[in-house]
């Protein structure tokens, strides 16, 4: 029983890591309708910014945290300008965006390797990493923080997207930029906003990952898991992405803990595919019978 509870805690904390990435990633996805594979790269850059602000500039933690998020936001917008905007202007199909995103992700990662170097950087300890203890159970401090932060980000984003005028404008732009422009929406600004928010969230995730895992050029790789989780949760649905993440985390944990860690991904992928067969739009995806 204790073992099971501990495993659930483990699962939730892995899930929060995925969720933290998934919110930013899924936001851009739901607006732009393509997988922004550069998101992992931005997370990584956020982690490096946080690291340098803390160690080279000796900034206080809160400032470094915010600074990293802002820098990440700027870079995310930069990526959009360079790699996606020209495609957007030509109404290119989503495949081209994905390839461009892959190019961007390759560029970012290797740029860091070539300049900063491939070595691992350890974050200075800002606060105690001692886990909370609940009887025989251990709950990670950073994990708890990630869980809370992803919940807050999610709530804030849902509010922003569903209940503000700007949010509606974002959704409209996602669907049809031309028609949105006719409503007087500055679509370019909207897209910048979306990428900035996505980048900001990536920056936050980056600093937290950096503290948890150290910083290295491939730290963004785990984004692939949040991609999977987001699809599983139902594409275009922010809560779906987060719930999908948590479920994926728990699922992986239980499989490792009770079946076979050697075949973990095999089993968890099979389960996900199995679920998709019965629910082809993911957990929270909106059912749309195509209207002819």
């Amino acid at each position: 029983m204790i073992q099971f509870l501990q495993q659930m805690i483990n699962g939730l904390s892995i899930g929060s890591v995925y969720a933290l990435m998934a919110v930013g990633y899924s936001l851009v996805y739901s607006i732009m309708n393509f997988s922004n594979f550069a998101h992992g790269g931005i997370i990584m850059l956020g982690a490096y910014f946080g690291f340098f602000f803390l160690t080279l500039f000796n900034w206080p933690f809160a400032m470094a945290f915010l600074g990293a998020a802002i820098c990440a936001a700027i870079l995310a917008v930069l990526v959009e300008r360079v790699a996606y905007k020209p495609l957007r202007m030509r109404n290119a199909p989503f495949l081209y965006f994905i390839i461009s995103a892959m190019g961007a992700s390759m560029f970012i990662e290797n740029f860091v390797i070539a300049t900063i170097g491939p070595t691992f950087k350890t974050y200075p300890t800002v606060f105690s990493r001692e886990p909370f203890r609940l009887g025989p159970l251990f709950i990670g401090r950073l994990d708890t923080m990630m869980f809370v932060i992803s919940a807050i980000c999610l709530a804030a984003l849902i509010y922003f997207i569903d209940f503000t005028k700007m949010g509606k404008a974002i959704q409209a732009t996602a669907f049809n930029p031309r028609a949105s422009a006719l409503m007087g929406i500055n679509t370019d600004l909207i897209i910048i906003t979306v990428f900035a928010i996505g980048g900001f969230l990536a920056g936050i995730a980056g600093v937290l990952f950096g503290m948890k895992y150290t910083v290295y050029p491939q730290i963004g790789f785990i984004t692939i898991k949040s991609f999977i989780a987001a699809v599983f949760g139902g594409l275009g649905s922010l809560p779906g992405a987060v719930i999908g993440s948590v479920i994926l985390g728990v699922l992986e944990t239980l499989i490792s803990g009770y079946f076979s860690s050697q075949f973990r991904d095999l089993i968890s992928f099979s389960l996900l595919i199995f679920i998709l067969v019965f629910r082809p739009i993911g957990l929270m995806g909106k059912s749309t019978e195509e209207k002819a």
Binding site: S35, V82, A83, P86, L87, R90, A92, P93, L95, Y96, I98, I99, S100, M102, G103, A104, S105, M106, F107, I108, E109, N110, F111, I113, A114, I224, F227, I228, V231, F232, L235, Q262, F263, D265, L266, F269, S270, L272, I273, L276, V277, P280, I281, G282, E290, A292
Partner: protein, 292 residues
């Protein structure tokens, strides 16, 4: 440049091309996006190697059986997942590719993650060229038949394709099957070329590399795929001198091509004999005029 080295690049391009041709049918002509083709390559590679080593079959039958094994596998996958749309299908294939790799990592009979050395070397430039020429001819004939046109119709407008009586599921399945066979044969060639197989060789990076080539060459163009495979396999070699900056340049090149030629190299057009003749004639005409 030394011929020995160029030959190496050409053989590698040829191997990539074989896999790309298959993916081109699936992604370029049928409009399905796969992240798991490396998985089919892996199945083909291990099966073909086993045919040669354990049963002593010659190269071509081994490759064909490898391709067929991948094809048969694709039928199972397709049956489950081809009803999924867009990214859902994409995730399912990604999961499949990773699952195959994980299984191979664990199967000690084939060396597990440590790899399988000692596969006889049977691939040289000539048989690579012959295999590819046959592969290209088959694909051209297929595309220019009613079957190929049905696949293109699915890519263009699935609903309309259904209402003119195309069994879209069946044709997606055929497309997936053929593309898996191509990938399987390509995988077999990998083993017989390097003499060594390791699950790592068939990672998701390999799948994305193939996709990049297809899109880069231009969706729905076989000549685009050929040029894309040649160019993108050679590009990292050309960039060797950049050392650390090599993949930075590669990433930048991918972005650059996508944004400057968002239709890919060939943009859905084909280099045909007729086209070349026409081009030559165009060039000749002013000359003739001058004579007259």
């Amino acid at each position: 440049m030394d011929w020995f080295y160029i030959k190496g690049i050409l053989i590698l391009s040829g191997i990539n091309l074989m896999a790309v041709l298959g993916l081109s049918l699936l992604t370029g002509f049928t409009g399905l996006f796969s992240f798991g083709h490396a998985g089919f390559m892996a199945i083909g590679a291990y099966t073909a190697a086993a045919m040669g080593i354990k049963l002593g079959l010659p190269l071509i039958p081994s490759l064909l059986i490898g391709g067929l094994a991948a094809g048969i596998f694709s039928l199972f996958i397709g049956k489950l997942t081809l009803n999924l749309k867009g990214d859902y299908f994409c995730i399912a294939t990604l999961g499949f590719g990773e699952a195959i790799r994980l299984i191979l990592d664990n199967v000690q009979y084939f060396g597990g993650a440590r790899g399988w050395p000692g596969i006889p070397l049977k691939i040289d430039l000539w048989n690579v060229i012959i295999i590819n020429v046959v592969g290209i001819l088959i694909l051209i004939n297929l595309i220019n038949s009613r079957h190929g046109r049905n696949m293109i119709a699915i890519r263009e407008e699935e609903l309309a394709a259904k209402t003119i009586g195309i069994d879209t599921f069946k044709y997606k399945m055929i497309s997936l099957f053929i593309s898996a066979v191509y990938a399987g044969i390509a995988g077999g060639m990998v083993g017989y070329y390097t003499g060594f197989l390791q699950p790592k060789m068939f990672s998701m990076n390999k799948s994305t590399e193939l996709t990049i080539i297809v899109i880069f060459g231009g969706i729905g163009s076989i000549s685009g795929s050929v040029l894309g495979a040649l160019f993108l396999t050679a590009l990292p070699e050309i960039l060797r001198a950049f050392a650390l900056w090599r993949l930075v340049a590669y990433g930048a090149a991918v972005i650059f091509i996508m944004i400057s030629r968002p239709e890919g190299l060939m943009g859905g057009k084909e280099i045909t004999l007729k086209g070349i003749m026409r081009l030559l004639r165009l060039k000749n005409r002013p000359g003739k005029a001058a004579e007259g």
